[in-house]
Symmetry: C2
Subunit: 333 residues, 2 copies
DNA sequence: ATCAGTTTAGAAAACCTTTTCTATAGAAAG
DNA sequence: CTTTCTATAGAAAAGGTTTTCTAAACTGAT
């Protein structure tokens, strides 16, 4: 049962392949009678146009490559959903690739996507090494490239990013307003956005003369992360410099802190306040419910998709950096 | 800066495109001297072979389409990761599509994937309507099609599935062994696997003469699901037929049950036992940690990938149905 | 020096479309 | 009854590869 091609349809309908193509794409006048014949033939043979051939000639595949470090964090799922909601209706299909946060894998996947002639590439949290080495900057000249949360003022490229800095500031000011100044910062090891957040935190604490402490948790799969965060925070709560408040770089870590407090009998929010980051579903199902900083991830993905669509369809484009506001959500922690 | 093609490389190296192709694919003897020339030209021009053209002629795109209802449930992320770990090294790239659990969207996406000439399609939790209507059965004749957890003894097709039935049995027997017979079953509305699980539950309860009750939660995004499960379970705990144990169809629902117990002051596990399903990360970070039924999701994905690879590469194949064991994990609930 | 056999290279067809350019038929206008 | 225009249809080129088939050049044996 060989595949049915436009040839077969043409023969069946007794017309040329040109005419069949025109009926399908509706981009050239075709007599009503002819059109009917062709449509009947298409239906009869269940013809399915080969998009490869079309892409080859039109020099556009209507595909977008998405690179994400992982799928485990719901942050990424939300972003991807946001992208999809915009690109799907426009007829784009997406290649989703996980880099596992590895520099070489990231490059390898990008090369593969280029060979596949994607019309654009969206990267979520790109690896620092590939940014610094100039690899991405060169890439941006070859193909529409959009970085989501690629916090790197340096390179010429398009961005959509959370104003995570503002989010951190808002959280810290909130704590301050509540009279809390012994604030610890809980972060993962390797990530641009964590670096940025820490910088802002440091700056704020120094400026106000508060003594802070930064705890670094080794990145891993999320259950481990939570476990480690819990242990680290238990250490903190047990120590002499016991903080009154904790700002975590994501919701998983915040859950770890929450669990630590429970284990130690520390009351949240009475004796310890906790604010997470991302407003993932997780933060809505803990008891007490986690306060967190909403990053509007779905919207972020949507913005990214709209921007890359512009880049793929408009000829000239100036580089843009689009910031999305964060929002402090105070729940019960 | 037009794209560099095999033509350009051939000219640069002073050979024919045939020779360039042979050097790239290493599938025909080429004199060492010639090879060097070509390799230098390739590097100099940064030639990137157009996979569309290759796919067109070889009638294989080395792509796989994955359909999933959503990304929100970590169950799906894990499965996808499992698939990826197997297909990636074999040179396959995946189109990931979310159906949002909608019948028509599912069909639409499948058509699009077929137009894109995917070599195979993996569906996670396919829509019941598309199974019943015979759509999928017809599809399976056109393209290698593998269903993950498409519990539908009926249609001729390849499957990889959790022996969810056994999981339910194991959990129920466990409860029974603990002397608990007032067991409620907490489930979402629309899903094959939930149906299967409920059937097994019903059968068990009837057979032993225990009085059970099934609670149906409207499927939604997961935070809502948790909230609704919580409310439903609060109603249950408050009622006269208050259960001693709850089996939930997934971990989210189990969290809802856990939260309900906390709200009502019911002690877990002392006064109420809860077992979830899936062993997602969620179940490892609650307090108390959730007992659950592990479905080995990553492994499931890996099995699926291996099987579809067979289907895509071997000529003849008999339909297979591969079951993967579940495992009851007793933690603290 | 001739012949057969072995390496190596290239020309051209093929894959399935879209698109440009040309051609035909019929209608309208003179 | 020509001529011009319009509406419609088809032939052929193009897109970038792979692959088959043919050809050339060299090797070694007679």
């Amino acid at each position: 049962m060989a595949k049915v091609t436009i040839q077969d349809v043409a023969k069946e309908a007794g017309v040329s392949i040109t005419t069949v193509s025109r009926v399908m794409n509706n981009n050239y006048p075709v007599a009503e009678k002819t059109r009917k014949k062709v449509e009947i033939a298409i239906k009869k043979l269940a013809f399915r146009p080969n998009l490869l051939a079309r892409s080859l000639i039109q020099n556009s595949t209507k595909t977008i490559g998405i690179l994400t470090p992982s799928l485990e964090n719901l942050f990424f799922s939300e972003v991807i959903k946001g992208i999809d909601q915009v690109t799907g209706p426009k007829g784009y299909t997406t290649f989703l690739c996980h880099t596992e946060g590895k520099e070489d894998k990231e490059r390898e996947l990008i090369e593969s996507l280029l060979n596949r002639q994607v019309d654009g590439i969206i990267m979520i949290d790109p690896r620092r090494e590939n940014v610094l080495s100039g690899y991405l900057e060169k890439l941006a000249k070859e193909v529409p490239l959009l970085l989501i949360n690629g916090h790197s003022a340096g390179i010429a490229c398009d961005y959509v990013l959370n104003a995570a800095e503002d989010g951190v500031m808002e959280a810290l000011r909130y704590f301050e307003g509540e009279g809390l100044t012994k604030i610890a910062f809980l972060r993962g090891k390797k990530s641009y956005s964590y670096d940025i957040k820490e910088e802002v935190y440091d700056h704020f604490m120094k400026e106000h003369g508060y003594s802070g402490q930064v705890v670094r948790i080794k990145d891993g799969n999320d259950a481990h992360t939570v476990e480690q965060a819990k242990e680290a925070v238990m250490g903190l709560l047990d120590g002499e410099d016991c903080p009154e408040a904790i700002l975590a770089c994501n919701d998983w870590m915040a859950v770890g802190a929450l669990n630590a407090a429970k284990s130690m009998g520390t009351q949240v929010p009475k004796d310890l306040r906790i604010i997470g980051f991302d407003n993932t579903i997780i933060s809505q199902i803990t008891e007490p419910k986690l306060s967190t900083i909403d990053q509007q991830m779905t919207k972020l993905g949507g913005l990214a998709a709209k921007r890359i669509y512009q880049m793929m369809t408009d000829e000239d484009h100036n580089r843009q950096k689009i910031y999305l506001e964060t929002k402090l959500i105070i729940r019960e922690s």
